[in-house]
């Protein structure tokens, strides 16, 4: 019974979280594209950087998009925390522990990338 509950509840929650962040990310990209279109020198710098791999100023490289990408990846942290809670409530402690470990790995990677 609990097992069915997890398989019904989690995908809905996961789907909602991912959709919100996909929408945010594409909106941020369109905003970034327009800001680069409006400035010819930014567009040239961006083209050069795409080939050379140099790091661009955040206004050109799209700080909003990167933030949205981080949120998209972070959405998995949120949805996995929720999953861990569902497993814990369903007394499937081994799965709760595994998902908690996964959340911990995401959090460590995220913290390392932000610091």
């Amino acid at each position: 019974m609990e097992s069915k509950l997890i398989e019904r509840k989690y995908p809905r929650f996961f789907s909602a979280v991912v959709r919100i962040f996909l929408f945010l990310m594409v909106s941020a990209f369109i905003f970034n594209l327009f800001s680069v279109v409006s400035d010819r020198s930014s567009a040239e710098k961006a083209a050069e950087a795409a080939i050379s791999g140099e790091i661009l100023p955040q206004s050109i490289s799209g700080v909003a998009v990167i933030a949205a990408v981080k949120l998209l990846s972070g959405s998995l942290i949120i949805s996995f925390s929720y999953l861990s809670f569902l497993f814990f409530r369903g007394r499937e402690y081994i799965f709760s522990l595994i998902t908690a470990l996964l959340v911990l790995i995401f959090l460590i990677s995220a913290a390392a990338s932000i610091c």
Binding site: S15, M25, L33, S61, V65, F95, L102, S113
Partner: protein
């Protein structure tokens, strides 16, 4: 110029998306070798975009796969845990090692993948498990332990490759789940998709930290792949996959030759190609 690049990336990713679904290979696995072999972009940005493409497509497909019963969450989690740890290590190794070496290794791996695709058999449609028997306990029952342990080691290796080359590596995950874990082919494909989303989500933080995700490359690629793979999925019943599979193998081989040749010439003879 950047807009021409963005438009080209969108179009090529769109075509790759269609071919990848029909050819039975993950979008990221075709995207990274083709774009890095035939476009002048920085290899780090291409790998970052490849991970991003794999992340977006697997995350968007995940909920539907779990709901439909093709993605088994309980089985995916333990393998995803080992894969996630090694994908972070792979991503770090990939960014530390010289681009030319990673490019050369990717080319060699593309030879392997194309031969693997050319000679692989259909897999076990039924699998060893039946009904609702997909539990973690079953994996460790006597007689299955060695296979399960091999599957864990395989997923650690797959995670490492995914992080290092910026691929989803579904082409490797599906046979492991099918042949070593004993899942039916369709369920293996669905569960592998969930594992990819976890592996890639961990590795992408390393790329973000090293500024290796460039939105003007990553997002058009993602959008093209997203739309292309949906169209590819709707064409699945109407198109004969044999010809498309051959086209995909040819693309992989050509990309592999180009990557090995251009990077090999530089590494072994110090000549830029």
């Amino acid at each position: 110029m950047i807009f021409i690049y963005a438009a080209l990336l969108f179009l090529i990713s769109f075509v790759i998306g269609i071919l990848a679904v029909i050819g039975g290979i993950g979008g990221g696995s075709l995207f990274v070798p083709v774009i890095s072999a035939f476009f002048p972009f920085s290899f780090d940005f291409v790998r970052g975009a490849g991970l991003f493409v794999a992340l977006g497509s697997s995350l968007s497909a995940g909920p539907r796969l779990i709901e439909s019963g093709y993605g088994k969450l309980r089985l995916a989690l333990p393998f995803a845990l080992s894969g996630a740890v090694f994908s972070v290590l792979g991503a770090r190794a990939g960014l530390l090692v010289d681009d030319r070496i990673v490019g050369f290794l990717l080319g060699v791996m593309m030879f392997f993948v194309s031969f693997f695709m050319l000679f692989k058999k259909g897999g076990k449609k039924e699998g060893e498990f039946r009904d609702e028997d997909f539990s973690f306990k079953v994996l460790f029952r006597p007689g299955r332990r060695l296979k399960t342990l091999s599957a864990f080691i395989s997923f650690s290796f797959i995670g490492f490759i995914a992080g290092m080359f910026g691929l989803g590596a579904g082409w490797a995950g599906v046979p492991v789940l099918n042949l070593l874990v004993g899942l039916p082919l369709r369920i293996a494909a669905g569960t592998s998709n969930i594992i990819i989303s976890v592996n890639v989500s961990s590795a992408i933080w390393v790329y973000l930290k090293n500024n290796a995700v460039f939105p003007l490359i990553a997002i058009p690629s993602f959008l093209g792949m997203f739309i292309g793979s949906r169209i590819g999925a709707s064409m699945l019943g109407r198109v004969k996959p044999g010809f498309i599979r051959l086209a995909v193998i040819l693309f992989l081989l050509l990309s592999g030759i180009r990557l090995v040749y251009s990077n090999g010439m530089f590494l072994f003879f110090q000549q830029g190609v």
